[in-house]
Symmetry: D2
Subunit: 223 residues, 4 copies
C-alpha cells in the first residue's frame, strides 16, 4: 500500500466518509500549498495539546481559554461552562456527546451545568461502564451526597434537578431508562428531580405526516 | 389539445403530480381493462354521492356506514365519530384537514370529538372566513354557550377543553394563534380550556441535529 | 370497506402512488367542485373512446386528430406519425412503451417510424409473446419481406434500418439482445441493418463518477 | 478563535464538508488514541514527501513505488503508468484531474498514456494557462513534433491519437472545445487524431427519463 492509499485509509475512518471522498481529501491536501498543510498539522497538534476533558462535566474544552476565563491556571482542568459562575449550578443536564451539548448551547435555552456521558448505552451491552462514564456519574452522585465537592470546582451547593437529554431513537431511549434507574436512589436520598426532555411536535412538523407515537406524546404534553 | 393531453391536464392538478407522472397515469388507464376503468369511475361517483360532510365536525364521511352505525337514517348527517356515544364529548380537537384527523385517529391516543377547520389560515389573508370554517366555528362556540345543541347530535353537555392541533410550520403556527384569539372569550365565558399540542423532540429525533427552537421547547416541556 | 377506502384502493394501483397519496387523491376529489369531477370523468371516458392503438406502430393515439390529419376517416386506425408522409419510412425504431417514444419525439432527432413493443421482455420469461408484441413484430417483419404492406398503410418501400431503443438497465439489455436475435434472419433476408442506441457519457455526466462500463463504452464509441 | 474552532475551519475547506461535519471531525480526532493521530499526521507528511507530480503526465504518484517499478531511482520523476513499457504509447488521454484518471483506470478499458490538465477551463476565463496546464500541453505537443522526447521518458515513437476525456457538463464541454482547437494544428502537422469520448446512454439509463440531448447523441452514435 503506497502513501496515498495509506492516507486514504486514515480518512475513510473519519465519520461519514466513504472511500471516494477519502481519496478526494488526499488529492485536496496534495493540491494545497505547503502553508495550508503546515497550518492543518499544527492545528491538529494544538487541539491535541490544548484540549483536555473537563474533570467536572467531561466535555472537551481548550485549556488556554479556560485559564484566561477562570483567571487562575490551576483551574484549567475545569471547562469554561463549569467555571462560569453565572450558570445555574442547581441544574445538571446529562448528554451523550459533545455535539449534543453544543446543540443545546446553541439553543440558548439552558443555563445549568452538563455531564457528557460519552455516548449512548448500547442495548444488550454487558459492561456499559466500559463504554460510557457510569463510574464518573456515580462519583458525581456521591459528591452530591456528601457535599465533598462543594469547595472544589463549583459543584452545586444544592442540586435541584438532573435533565436527561438523549436522542429519542431506540439507543437514546434505552440510555434514558438506564440512567434514570441509576439516578433514582440518589434523587430520593438527596431530594433532587430527574426529568426528561419533552416529547412532541418538533418545529416545522406536519401533523399529517407525524407518527402515532409523536402525536400521542404531543397530546400528553399539550398545554 | 387532444383527449390524452386533456386528461393529462386533469391529473396534473392532483396533489403532488407533475406533467410526466400525469401522462403516465393516462397511459396506465389506457392499458387497464374496461372493468378497472369502469370500477374506478363508479367508485368516484359513489364517493361523491355517498360521502358528505359531517354537520358537527365537518369531516368527510360515508353516509351508508354512518346510517348503519347510528342505526337511524335521519342521523346520517352526523359522522361515525360524532355519533359514537363512547367518545368523550367534553374534548374537541380542531385540525386543519381530514388527513390530520386521520393521523390523530391512527395514533389511538385521542377519544374526544373533532372540528375540521378546512385548512390553515393563510398569513396576511384578509378574509380568512372565506378560506376556512370560522363562521361554523363561531356557531359551534355559541351552541356551546346556549346549550342549544344539547338534545341534538350529542354535543358535549359540558365542554371542558378544546385542543388546537395544527402543524408547527409558519402557517400552522399562525392558524393556532388566530384560533386561540377567537376562542379565548368563549373559553372564559363557558369555562373551558384551550390547549395546544406539546412541542418537543419527535420520535427518533437526534439531539445533535435538532433545531434550537425544538430543543428549547423540549426543555420547557421536560417532565 | 366504505367508498372512500374503495376509491383509495383504485388510486393505489396508479403508477408510483402509495396509500397515503392515494387517500389524498380521494380528499382532493371531494374538495373539487362538481364541474371538475364531471370534466375528469368525461375526459377519462373520452380518452377510452377516442384513443386507439395504431395498427402499424401500436402506439396509443387519438382518432379524431388522426382522421383530420390523414383526411380520410377510413385511415383512422393509423396514428399521426405512421400516416405522416414526411417521415422517413426506411427507418423503424423499436421502443418498449409510449413514454419512451415520446422522449425520442421530444428530442427532435428522429424522423422515422416506430414500433411499440409494449414493454421490456422480463428475464427468464417463458412466454414473452404473451407479455409483449412479438407476434406483431414477426408479422411486420414478414410484411417487410413480401411487400404485402406496400399499398396499405405506408409501409417502407424499402426498410433500411431497425433501431433498437431500449433502456440500458438489465431488463432493457435483455430485451435488446432477444429482439436482435429475432430480427437477424429477417435483416439478412431483406438486407436491412439492426442498430442499437449508442452507449457513452450522458449529458451532464462527470467522468469521476461514471461507472467503468459507461467509460469503456464511451471509449469504444469515441469519435 | 480557540484551537477547536481553528481546526474546524481547516476541515471546512475539505471538499464537500460543511461546518457541522467539520466539527465532528475535530471531536473524532479528540476521541482517537495518540497512535491514530500520530499515524494520520505522519501519513500526511509522507504523502507530501513521497508524492510528486509526474513530469510526463502530471498526475500525482508516490515516488518509492515508481522507483521500485522502474527499477532505476533516477526515473522517479516519471509515474508508474508513464514508465510502464506495456502501455500503448501511441495513445494519450487528456483528463481534467487525477480522480478522472482513476475512474478510467478502474474501467480497465484504456491502456495508453495520460495527460492531467489540472482542471476544467473555466468559461470566460481570460488566462486559462494560469489555471490549467496549457503550457505543458503545448510543450508536449512540440516534443511530439521534434521527437526530442523519444530517448527520454518513453514518449510515443509515433503518437496516433489524443483522446479528450472531460465531463459532459458545460465546463467540461467548454474545455473539450478549447483543447480541441489548441491541438488541431499539431494534429495536422504530425498526423495524429483527436477524438472525444462517445456520448449516449449511460449504463442503467432509462430512455423515458433521458434528456433530448442524450437521446440525439445516442442516435447519432448508434451502431
Amino acid at each position: 500500500m503506497d502513501s496515498i492509499e495509506r492516507l486514504t485509509e486514515f480518512f475513510r475512518q473519519f465519520p461519514g466518509i466513504g472511500p471516494r471522498q477519502a481519496r478526494r481529501f488526499v488529492y485536496f491536501l496534495l493540491t494545497r500549498d505547503r502553508e495550508y498543510v503546515k497550518g492543518l498539522m499544527e492545528s491538529v497538534e494544538k487541539v491535541r495539546q490544548s484540549v483536555s476533558i473537563c474533570t467536572s462535566c467531561f466535555r472537551f474544552f481548550t485549556k488556554e481559554k479556560a485559564s484566561i476565563h477562570a483567571g487562575v491556571f490551576s483551574s484549567s482542568s475545569i471547562c469554561q461552562i463549569c467555571s462560569d459562575t453565572s450558570r445555574d449550578t442547581s441544574l445538571r443536564m446529562i448528554v451523550a456527546k459533545d455535539a449534543d451539548l453544543e446543540a443545546v448551547e446553541k439553543s440558548h435555552s439552558y443555563h445549568g451545568l452538563y455531564f457528557v456521558l460519552g455516548g449512548n448505552i448500547p442495548i444488550l451491552e454487558k459492561n456499559p461502564e466500559q463504554k460510557v462514564r457510569l463510574r464518573e456519574l456515580n462519583k458525581l452522585m456521591e459528591s452530591v451526597g456528601n457535599r465533598a465537592s462543594e469547595d472544589k470546582n463549583n459543584e452545586p451547593k444544592k442540586l435541584k434537578e438532573i435533565i436527561l437529554s438523549f436522542s429519542t431513537n431506540s439507543e437514546g431511549e434505552h440510555t434514558t431508562l438506564t440512567i434514570k434507574q441509576i439516578l433514582e436512589p440518589f434523587a430520593e436520598a438527596n431530594g433532587f428531580k430527574v426529568s426528561i426532555l419533552g416529547r412532541g411536535l418538533s418545529t416545522g412538523a406536519e401533523l399529517e405526516y407525524s407518527d402515532g407515537n409523536t402525536i400521542s406524546e404531543a397530546l400528553k404534553n399539550r398545554s
